[in-house]
Structures are given as structure tokens and as C-alpha cells.
């Protein structure tokens, strides 16, 4: 049954070795009153039945065509080279555990070391860990690092409202365990960088922005890091890794910690997980870093090799005094991102960023020309990367339903739920999957559904 290989004869022999008559006799320590419950679960099914059932269940989802999806807001459909899944399907990688035995884990260790190297080059930072769960938890850990670095003497966190709303929500959950921490800035959904800068003081542990921000636009970051550092705080930047193929990296404008969702680098949307929390910082903070870190070294014969290093930061050594409780991370997604970056390469990532930029601007111009629609109405002068805000003449939910039911299109994200001042505004994403013809279909469908 299932994947248990034992034959009756083997089972008998093993029980005899132990000195027991029946397999049930192994459980006499379990109180009899609760032993062997009658679980109400569906009966066992064969693999072929499961395949059929799962296919039927999956068919109850709307079948997303990435070329006709304009929904992003933190998770993105991007082209995934076949090399990625080829590597992720290698059992040597995906059925292994954390690299506590480096001699038989050099493959994963080297891959993660290369991942760290590529993330550092991409973000212009000095050290990257070997992954967090996802973008939001990476941000939460970055803020905990800032509180840790300022040794609990500073408790104020200035948070831009133009950070992904669900990242902010996760951060606030994480801070429930930290007595003093106080979040300011994002209570006003329209607050810009000037307002956030005015909140800096000697109690501030970190100022956190997203760039390009949640609405897809570039923030005016020049001089920001200086102001933050003058007040003795850290600058934490949530970024878009695809944008960094073309646009300036947070390390170049003074970020102390850079976090991101690594999913766009070759990982499927997969209904929101598993994804990849990217976390990079300065070497000065390496001892306060959370999560695994791979370092280069040599073996007794002088051969190059890799190990998990600075383990004294981690929970299995430091226990209650660890920098974080994280153990299981998102290693195989980090491997996927590494294969993605190695395949796409420097010019490929730049090309993808260019495609996103040009196509999204083409789409924005076309939508702006529709009667009743306006693009980035709050900040028309601010440059954007691949996402933009559209004011629509009807409720977003209604428009999206019609796009889906009549045009097979996944419409943009409804901003009204998170930002009261953005009722009837949607966030539209355009990427390399969306050809001109697909964009034209969106534009004409939008015109049609509001007619």
C-alpha cells in the first residue's frame, strides 16, 4: 500500500528481531483512550485516479493564458526558460535537505553560492543570504535586522504606503512580537517621500520604500540615503529584480538592505507560493543576517569547496538568542532563480526589462486614449517600469468579470480595497508575454466593456 515497500515476511522478521508479535505493540506508550483514532478521510486512491481527480479540479480554475494576463501586483508571469525546470527536476537537488553535510552537498552549495553572487551583482550589495520564504517575510526580517542593529534603542519604522499592502501587513504581524516597535508613515495612503523624510528622527531604526513602487513608478531616491543615514537609521528597499536588468540598483543609491520577491526569476506564479524571498545587505551587517549563508573555503587537500557559514547566528546553535528562527527556507527556488539568471544572462535580463518597459508604455498610451480612462492620474509625470495605475469608469470587479468571461483576459489588480482614495483604479502589468496584438485586445476589450 502507498509507498511502504515491506513484504509480510519482512515485517514478521523485523517484528521478531524487535521481540514483538504485532506492529500495534509498538504503540503501548500512547494512551489507550486516544490510540488508533478512526479518521474520517476519503478512502485511499490509486495514482491514476488521483491524476484524473486533480486534472478535473484544476479545470475548475479559469485557464490563465499568460499572454492575456495583465495582473501583477507582486506576482508576475514571465518567460521561464526550459533549463530551469530541467534542473529543478533533478532528484539530487530537490530531494536533498539543508547542506549540513557539505561533502555530499557541494552541488547545492555551489549553486547557492553562485545565486548569492548573482543577487549581489544585480542589487549592488555585498552579501545575500541563501533565501527567505517570500518577499514579504524577507522585508519583515530586514526590519528586524534594523531594530537589532540599532540595539533596541530605536523603535520607529517609517513605512512608505507605496509598498505592497500585503508586505506591510506581514511586517505588522511580525512586529506583534516586538514590544516597542512603532510603524509610521503608511497610515496616509497618499504620503510621498517628502512626507516620509520629514518623519526621520533619532528614534528611527529604518525607513522602508519600494522602488519601483507598488504602483510601478520610480521613487525620487536621490539624497534619500544621506538623509536616512544622517538620522542614524537604515534604508531598506523593496525592489523588482527584473527592473534591475536595466535600471539602477538600490546599492547604487545607498540602500542598507535590499529585499525582493524572487518569483519573477523563473518561478511559476503557483497561486502565490512557493516563492523566493531575496535578502541582500552590507557586509557590515553580516553577523546579524538571518538565514543560511554559503561561504567558499578549501578541503584538506586544498580543493575549493563550499560550506554553510556563520552558523552561530542561527537557531540550531544560538537558540533563543538567534538572529531569527528561520530554518527551512526556499532553497530550491533560489536554485531556480540562479538557473534563470545563468540562462537569461546579462543581456537577456536587460532585454526582458526593455520589453516590459516599452510594452507597458505602449499599453498605457493606448488605454489613456480610451474615453473615461486615465493613466497614473495621481502622478502623471513620474516615470514607471512595467506597471501603471488606471482610473476606470466602472467598478474594477465588474470590468474584470467581463474581461474574463467575454475576452479570456485577466484584468488588473483592484486598488480600492487597499487604498480608499483609489476606488475604481486598477493596477495593470505588462510583460514580455503580452504581444502588441494581445495588448490591442485588452485595449479594445476595455473600451467595449465600459460602453
Amino acid at each position: 500500500m502507498g509507498y511502504v515497500p515491506h513484504t509480510d515476511a519482512e515485517r514478521r522478521e523485523m517484528l521478531a528481531t524487535i521481540g514483538l508479535a504485532r506492529i500495534e505493540d509498538l504503540f503501548t506508550d500512547v494512551p489507550a483512550s486516544v490510540r488508533f483514532p478512526d479518521l474520517k478521510l476519503p478512502p485511499p486512491a490509486q495514482e491514476l485516479e488521483i491524476e484524473r481527480e486533480m486534472a478535473a479540479r484544476a479545470a475548475r480554475n479559469f485557464a490563465v493564458d499568460p499572454s492575456l494576463s495583465f495582473l501583477g501586483a507582486g506576482t508576475y508571469h514571465h518567460f521561464r526558460p526550459a533549463t530551469v525546470d530541467y534542473v529543478l527536476s533533478r532528484g539530487e537537488f530537490y530531494t536533498s535537505y539543508t547542506q549540513y553535510q557539505p561533502e555530499v552537498s557541494q552541488g547545492m552549495l555551489q549553486a547557492l553560492f553562485e545565486y548569492q553572487s548573482m543577487i549581489c551583482r544585480l542589487t549592488a550589495m555585498e552579501v545575500s543570504n541563501a533565501s527567505h520564504y517570500d518577499g514579504a517575510t524577507a522585508l519583515a526580517e530586514a526590519v528586524l535586522l534594523a531594530l537589532n542593529v540599532t540595539r533596541g534603542e530605536r523603535s520607529k519604522i517609517i513605512l512608505s504606503p507605496a509598498i505592497h499592502p500585503q508586505y506591510r501587513a506581514v511586517l505588522k504581524t511580525y512586529l506583534r512580537g516586538t514590544h516597542a516597535a512603532k510603524v509610521v508613515g503608511d497610515d496616509d495612503g497618499t504620503a510621498g517621500l517628502d512626507r516620509l523624510r520629514s518623519l526621520l528622527d533619532d528614534q528611527t531604526a529604518a525607513l522602508v520604500i519600494q522602488n519601483p513602487n507598488f504602483f510601478g513608478q520610480f521613487e525620487a531616491v536621490d539624497g534619500l540615503a544621506d538623509a536616512v543615514h544622517r538620522s542614524g537609521a537604515l534604508l531598506i528597499v523593496v525592489t523588482d529584480l527584473v527592473a534591475l536588468g536595466l535600471f539602477r540598483p538600490p546599492g547604487s543609491y545607498g540602500a542598507d538592505v535590499v529585499v525582493a520577491e524572487g518569483q519573477p526569476l523563473g518561478i511559476p506564479a503557483s497561486f502565490g507560493g512557493p516563492h523566493l524571498g531575496v535578502f541582500a545587505t552590507r557586509l557590515a551587517y553580516v553577523r546579524r543576517l538571518s538565514g543560511h549563508l554559503v561561504g567558499e573555503t578549501v578541503d584538506v587537500d586544498g580543493r575549493r569547496g563550499y560550506v554553510l557559514t556563520l552558523a552561530t547566528r542561527e537557531q540550531h546553535i544560538r537558540r533563543a538568542k538567534a538572529t531569527s528562527n528561520i530554518c527551512t527556507n526556499s532553497a530550491v527556488c533560489a536554485l531556480g532563480a540562479a538557473v534563470y539568471l545563468a540562462t537569461i544572462g546579462k543581456n537577456g535580463l536587460r532585454r526582458i526589462a526593455e520589453l516590459c518597459f516599452h510594452k507597458s508604455h505602449y499599453a498605457a498610451d493606448a488605454i489613456a486614449g480610451l474615453e473615461g480612462f486615465a493613466v497614473n492620474p495621481q502622478s502623471p509625470q513620474q516615470a514607471f517600469f512595467k506597471e501603471f495605475v488606471v482610473r476606470v469608469p466602472r467598478p474594477v470587479a465588474e470590468i474584470n468579470r467581463q474581461l474574463r468571461e467575454h475576452h479570456n483576459i485577466v484584468g488588473g489588480y483592484d486598488l480600492g480595497g487597499d487604498y480608499p482614495h483609489l476606488q475604481a483604479h486598477m493596477l495593470i502589468t505588462v510583460n514580455e508575454f503580452n504581444t502588441r496584438a494581445h495588448i490591442d485586445r485588452l485595449v479594445s476589450a476595455l473600451g467595449e466593456v465600459v460602453r
Binding site: 502507498g2 508571469h77 530541467y86 537537488f93 561561504g295 578541503d299 556563520l310 527556507n329 544572462g345
Partner: protein, 487 residues
């Protein structure tokens, strides 16, 4: 395994190479905001065959469950069914976006709802949230719920969490993150948490206890019901570390033992792959009194049968969100398929055989490797890895096992057993595999007497030999020197 050093992707990089062709823009070009551009981005440049050969070579230097026996205690390195990988990759699952209208993802929500229900049934809980992404993430989530529960009742003085000294390191670390103080409890002579110590520690400052059952010695806590009673009586709650649930699924329900909250490790008990360290998934189950504090959203159903509609619900007093979206959906698909494959009888059979295999190994190994708590164990057991009179330690035995083609057990944990080797075979290993492992362990025990240097300098057959960890920490090379300096 290949012995030559494998060049890094940066060392393989040649300017001008590319791994994949991409389209040219099919729309009019828009001028870039020049002040936002970067000068250069130092990523490697490789051809596609370079990429494939590179990662294939790396995979050949890595050991997984698919490579061989992996008896890593407390990690439950069981077989990962291949069909689950295939199903999780179905485009109709993998391409769904977490922010789609719930009406457009009813298949996903139904799957998640069923998994919530099934885990609640298996654990004996009133409700489940699938959101935490790992065991430690589930611990942190559960502790925040315990905190919210006490705060709602005005019991702000409950700041201490009791933790047995045999606990996983994540327990005290999660406790600190959740704003509590960890209080360590000793173990008794039979490997249980010391009942007297629990009794003394229980007072009005106790928020709860974190307990792993079976504990990390692989032993079922003989006084578990008494411990739960003592903690409840002083007003505390009981957190169960579900890391060792592979001994209990179908055998006993933690909820029936009085546990208030517990995380499941889908990557252990329910065979989702460990992925070289992750992603996992750490759903939490709770008793009725904690239900309203669960992180949201959770999945609820309205209507029945053909008219059933799955919706997202925010629990009334939710502690808030702990993941960007719903947690690791791809792992939910795999775990769902796994539970469906086994049913109640199959899950029980899995636990039974996991426990059978572990006891078989204990009995076969105990003459050569002392077992400090030598009684019927559950899915794992702990023996001493120090053998012979020539200073061979658990570390050396572990390294020598690599030469015999086995992944070593967890070593030097739990901390309460010096020179610990913690062995968890899981149910998917056959008797011949276990016998081969026993033979290797016996051979190593003999070598430890006859040729201790051979063991102390192991491994000899691996792609690299013992690595200089001190150098790694001191020199701290954490990015490839072949990459150009940052700009």
C-alpha cells in the same frame, strides 16, 4: 562523484554568449528615463549547453533521497512520490495568480479547503490555516496567537514559554521572536520532560509550553496528558511541535491529547520534497479557543455539492497575515495528493512502518552504538556515536558513512545526549536497505577499533573531503571573486 573543481558560472562566462533568444520589441519604443538607468549589470553570459552541463555536473555532487538512504533524524527524509511533482506542475495550477478573483480559482480553493479539513481531522483540531511556509514559521504564528489570546483576556503578565531541553532550536528562537521568554525544562531519566520541573514552573506568568511529542529522543512522552493538564490548570496553552508527526498520523491525534495549537510540516509527514532546505509548508491547526486568531485569509465553503462555493474569510480576531499570499500552494497540491493516495489506513500504515523501521534499527545497532534511552521508540531514536577507545566521535562516524554511500544521521542533537546520532529511517525504506546500513555501521565500529585514523580522516570517496569551516567563517568569501567588483 567527480573530483575536479567545477568552474562557477562567472568563470564560465564569456562576453557575448547567450543562453536563450528573446523577441525584439513589437511596439514603438519609449525613451528611457536616463537618470534611472544603470551602467552595467554584471550577470554571467553562458550558452545554453554550458548552463545545462554546469548544473548537471553540480547535481552529480549532491545527495538526495533519490540518491540513497537519508536517515536524518527529525527531518523525515521519506520518498517524494513523482506523481505529486507532475500534478503540481499542471499549468492550470501553476499558472494561477494569487490575486485572481476567487470565482476564477475555485479549483485551488476547493483543494485548499479540503486540505484544511483533512489536516484538522488528522490532528484533531477545530480549524487549520495553511499560510505558514515552514515549521518555524508555524511556531512563530502559533506563539503570536497564544500571545493574542492572553492579551485579549487581559493577562499581560503571561510572558514565559516552557520548553524542554530536548527541543528543536527553532522553539526557543521562535519564542524570542514572538516576544516571550524561553524557560528550559530538564528531562527525566527515561527521556521524558521532567514532570516535577513542569509542575514547579507552572504559574500565572506562563503563557504556554512548546512540546514535541514524540520528543527528539524519538520517545512518546509518557506523562503527556499530565503535562497538558498542569499547563492548562495554570492558565497556559500547549503548543505542539509537529516535526515528529510522522510517528503519530493515524496513531493519535494531538488535539485529543489536549494540544491547543500545532504546526504540521508538509515536507516531513506528507512527503513534499525538502528542496535542498526548502520550500516547505507549515500549516497550523488549533483548538476552538484559538480558531478566531488564525492568520487570514482561510478558506470557507458556502452551499453544498454542485452549488458549493469557496470563499476567502478573515478570522474574527486574526493576528494578521504571515505570508505575502496563501502560503506555499504548490506544496498544498502535493500534500493533498499524498493524503488522498493514502487515506486513513495508509497514513496509519506509514506511521506504523516508520516506527517499525526505527525500532528495528535500534535493536540491530544497540550493541555497537549505545542507546541511552533503550526502550520502544517511535519513528526515530538516538544512540551515541562515540565508539572504541581511540577517540572516534559521532562526527567521524557520520563522515565515514558518506564513504559507504549513506547520508549520516543528524548528529550532536538533541543536546542532552553527548555524541548523539539521531536516526530516522522513515517508512519508505526496505529491510534490505536498513540491513545494508546496519552492516556499514558495524563495519565502521570495527574500523574505529582497528583503523581509527581511517575513520577520523573520513570521508575519502566524496568530491571534496573535510572542509575548513574556520577559514570560511574567518575569510568570509560569500560572493564569487570571478565576478567584477560592485559598482
Amino acid at each position: 562523484m567527480i573530483r575536479t573543481t567545477i568552474p562557477t558560472v562567472y568563470e564560465l562566462s564569456v562576453p557575448g554568449r547567450h543562453g536563450v533568444d528573446l523577441p525584439t520589441p513589437d511596439v514603438p519604443l519609449t525613451p528611457f528615463p536616463t537618470s534611472e538607468l544603470r551602467a552595467d549589470c554584471d550577470l554571467p553570459e553562458l550558452s545554453q549547453i554550458d548552463v545545462v552541463r554546469h548544473y548537471l555536473a553540480l547535481s552529480q555532487r549532491n545527495f538526495g533521497v533519490d540518491s540513497g538512504f537519508y536517515p536524518l533524524g527529525s527531518c523525515t527524509m521519506k520518498y517524494n512520490p513523482k506523481i505529486n511533482e507532475q500534478i503540481a506542475r499542471l499549468p492550470a495550477f501553476a499558472e494561477t495568480h494569487p490575486l485572481q478573483d476567487p470565482e476564477a480559482v475555485q479549483g485551488n480553493l476547493e483543494l485548499m479547503f479540503e486540505l484544511q479539513e483533512w489536516l484538522a481531522e488528522i490532528g484533531g483540531f477545530a480549524a487549520v490555516s495553511l499560510q505558514p511556509s515552514a515549521g518555524a514559521h508555524g511556531e512563530f504564528t502559533g506563539l503570536l496567537m497564544i500571545r493574542a489570546y492572553h492579551h485579549e483576556r487581559g493577562e499581560l503578565k503571561r510572558t514565559r514559554i516552557l520548553i524542554p531541553d530536548s527541543a528543536h532550536g527553532t522553539n526557543p528562537a521562535s519564542t524570542t521572536m514572538a516576544g516571550f521568554t524561553a524557560v528550559e525544562l530538564p528531562s527525566d531519566g527515561r527521556g521524558n520532560v521532567d514532570l516535577e520541573a513542569v509542575s514547579v514552573a507552572c504559574d500565572e506568568t506562563v503563557a504556554g509550553i512548546m512540546i514535541t511529542n514524540p520528543n527528539t529522543l524519538g520517545l512518546f512522552e509518557e506523562h503527556i496528558q499530565h503535562v497538558v493538564h498542569l499547563v492548562h490548570e495554570c492558565g497556559g496553552l500547549v503548543y505542539g511541535d509537529g516535526a515528529n508527526m510522522n510517528a503519530l498520523a493515524g496513531i493519535a491525534r494531538p488535539g485529543d491529547l489536549g494540544f491547543d495549537v500545532m504546526h504540521f510540516n508538509l515536507h516531513k509527514t506528507f512527503a513534499t520534497p525538502h528542496g535542498g532546505g526548502g520550500p516547505g509548508a507549515g500549516p497550523i491547526g488549533v483548538s476552538a479557543r484559538l480558531k478566531d486568531f488564525l492568520p487570514g485569509p482561510v478558506i470557507e465553503v458556502q452551499g453544498e455539492g454542485q452549488n458549493a462555493k469557496y470563499v476567502l474569510e478573515e478570522p474574527k480576531k486574526s493576528i494578521g497575515r504571515v505570508s505575502t499570499f496563501f502560503g506555499n500552494f504548490g506544496m498544498f497540491v502535493r500534500a493533498h495528493a499524498y493524503i488522498r493516495r493514502h487515506g486513513a489506513s495508509g497514513l496509519r500504515a506509514n506511521s506504523e512502518h516508520a516506527v517499525l523501521n526505527a525500532n528495528y534499527l535500534r535493536v540491530r545497532l544497540r550493541d555497537a552504538f549505545a542507546v541511552p534511552f533503550d526502550r520502544i521508540n517511535m519513528h526515530e531514536f538516538v544512540c551515541r556515536g562515540a565508539v572504541g577507545d581511540h577517540g572516534v566521535r559521532a562526527f567521524d562516524v557520520s563522515k565515514r558513512l558518506l564513504d559507504y554511500g549513506f547520508h549520516p544521521p543528524t548528529n550532536y542533537f538533541p543536546l542532552i545526549v553527548p555524541e548523539a546520532l539521531m536516526i530516522e529511517p522513515t517508512e519508505t525504506e526496505s529491510k534490505p536497505t536498513l540491513d545494508a546500513f546496519v552492516a556499514a555501521m558495524h563495519a565502521i565500529a570495527t574500523e574505529a577499533k582497528d583503523d581509527p585514523l581511517l575513520v577520523k580522516s573520513a570521508p575519502h570517496e566524496t568530491p571534496v573531503r573535510r572542509l575548513d569551516e574556520v577559514k570560511a567563517a574567518r575569510e568570509l568569501v560569500v560572493t564569487d571573486r570571478a565576478a567584477t567588483p560592485r559598482r
